[in-house]
Symmetry: C2
Subunit: 394 residues, 2 copies
Amino acid sequence: MPTASRTVTGYGSELPAHWPAGLLPPRLAGLAVETPFLACDLGIVQDRLAALRAALPGVGVHYAVKCNPSPEIVATLATAGAGFEVASLGELRILLDVGVPGDGVLYSNPVKPVRHIRDAAAAGVWRFAFDSENELRKIAANAPGAAVYVRLRVDDSLSRFPLGRKFGAEAHAARELMLLARVLGLEPYGVTFHVGSQCTAPAAWRSALAGAGTLMRRLRADGVSLRMVDVGGGLPARYVDPVPPIEDYGRVITTALDDVLPYRPETVVAEPGRYLVAESGVLVGSVIGREERAGEEWVYLDVGVYHGLMETQQMHSDWDYPLWTSRRRHAEEPRLPFTVAGPTCDSADTMFVATPLPAALGVEDLVMIGSAGAYTLSYASGFNGFPPPTPVFV
Amino acid sequence: MPTASRTVTGYGSELPAHWPAGLLPPRLAGLAVETPFLACDLGIVQDRLAALRAALPGVGVHYAVKCNPSPEIVATLATAGAGFEVASLGELRILLDVGVPGDGVLYSNPVKPVRHIRDAAAAGVWRFAFDSENELRKIAANAPGAAVYVRLRVDDSLSRFPLGRKFGAEAHAARELMLLARVLGLEPYGVTFHVGSQCTAPAAWRSALAGAGTLMRRLRADGVSLRMVDVGGGLPARYVDPVPPIEDYGRVITTALDDVLPYRPETVVAEPGRYLVAESGVLVGSVIGREERAGEEWVYLDVGVYHGLMETQQMHSDWDYPLWTSRRRHAEEPRLPFTVAGPTCDSADTMFVATPLPAALGVEDLVMIGSAGAYTLSYASGFNGFPPPTPVFV
């Protein structure tokens, strides 16, 4: 039920002044697609991968498929030689369908359904994360001889989306578990952690790596050498406010790998998601209603919280998506603070408040939501009969 | 990626002691479906419709499709002679596909995409809600001559999900708008309101109807008689704690229709969703992990917040889904407080805390989530590669 068929032209030139040149999606101009749609520039994904590799030499990149499981994104990264990290058998199947072999895939969800372990192992996956004895026993029974990497609980308070207590073994337990892995016929292969999503403090990796280093030293005393350190995800994308450049993260992580680990394992990997794909995407919606409600200006779009903008519900007041409109060509136009809502009858379907937008914004105008390539389509639904945005790739 | 194929037998007899006999889904016993699945007993939907009609004689029932748009539910209600209320052209198409004629459908979303208005009118819909001049003009231009009903803003503070400021015209504006409707060639047809979803205070309808009555009196002085009063949605379902019986709502609404309206319009309707379908559904998941985290007991299911249990994120501490397990047959088994989480890597994917469940609960056990027929499938996604529950109807 898209609401408008429109040629989107030239909004690249209407981007906010601070929009980094590298984030401009000029190849998205000229698309004729009904709104809502999510346009992704695959060239930006390639550029991001190259930038990450330059910043983290010797570190393997395993894309976190959950962030945006579109086959086009996956194929682009696979062609560029990236590896992958999956949270489920469902994600593994997306990879297998585009020809990614299972043996390069990390299965990093610490708690896995038994059948997913078994079927993933049958598809060639040989490395599995875990953080408990129960999980170790599930892996030993369903993927005998597999290599396992323990997920350490680390301080994630510096991230926007801390991952809390749901996952992670305490340091003292991690050593015991790795020794148990050996007893169970598994290979005690590596260590991982997650500093939390959208982490704007590179130092978080240094503390987390220090914890990994402590575990490695203890295990070496037990006669166990680890072959992998996995620094997890959390590398941020730019939304409105600047985030530290990737070089800062590269410097901190590279230095910490040398400083705080007792030895350098043969494999060091990262599991970026948001950093690689968020800024490649622009979500384009149409204004379906413009109203004044109790003295406030409201616009209603044909895309909302349940159709890709779920993360607006979790954002802090100082983190928002960049917004611009098809009226931006009138640069002198006065602006007003708007509440921006989605199309459903649900009041929770309200994405932005007090957002300055052109005063004349009206029905059929377009609203562009930048940095929308990550964690949007991956949990979009068709609530209230409004379809998720159509993905478009250039 | 279902995780277990299992015959679910006899959990009907394991329901909590307070479970009302009418909510037992005995016909769901014996199903062999892979988890997660959402089993709906269509007989319960029919019973609920009958109970509502008995409680509200003379009030037409228009099911709120957004609540659960499954064609099986829609067809069951259509066969029983119910009407429908839609939030979008997408929902209207679901109705048309099962043979429901457009002319019995109310289009109650107050803010609609232009194309949805036009295509709905072409499909025979002739009654549209609105709450602003802009919307009136959209309707006049795209569904000329349509009948319009104004959505009044009312006190929704007694509901679990107040709908806030997103929708609704103030009383003084409503009269002006209805007069403008006539000027624009539309029929000023009716008045509606929404007391908020899961409203446990029947008196909320009396106050809201009093507001509608005031509008009707003012409009009568302007020479306008309304043909419809629509008392909206909000009738609650039972989750864990009891809610007032439907007869209480029937009594309050029926009395108020006589007491507070200046006249009885030819058409009085209600738009129930949750009341009709919530208790018809049981969501069945499997335990995929059992862990101790920082001294707390956790179970991880193969279904979570993003696969149907979104409302757990919005529930107050005193409203929860009823839970029971395949271990309930051991009635004497000791219990422990559990945190119950979904299968994804997202820590927000945690549904219940401090929920007493059998101490021995372990991997492959089943967990049943009752009253799961409403607002579950309608915003389920496949986040992290875990599919939404399979719908099953008996």
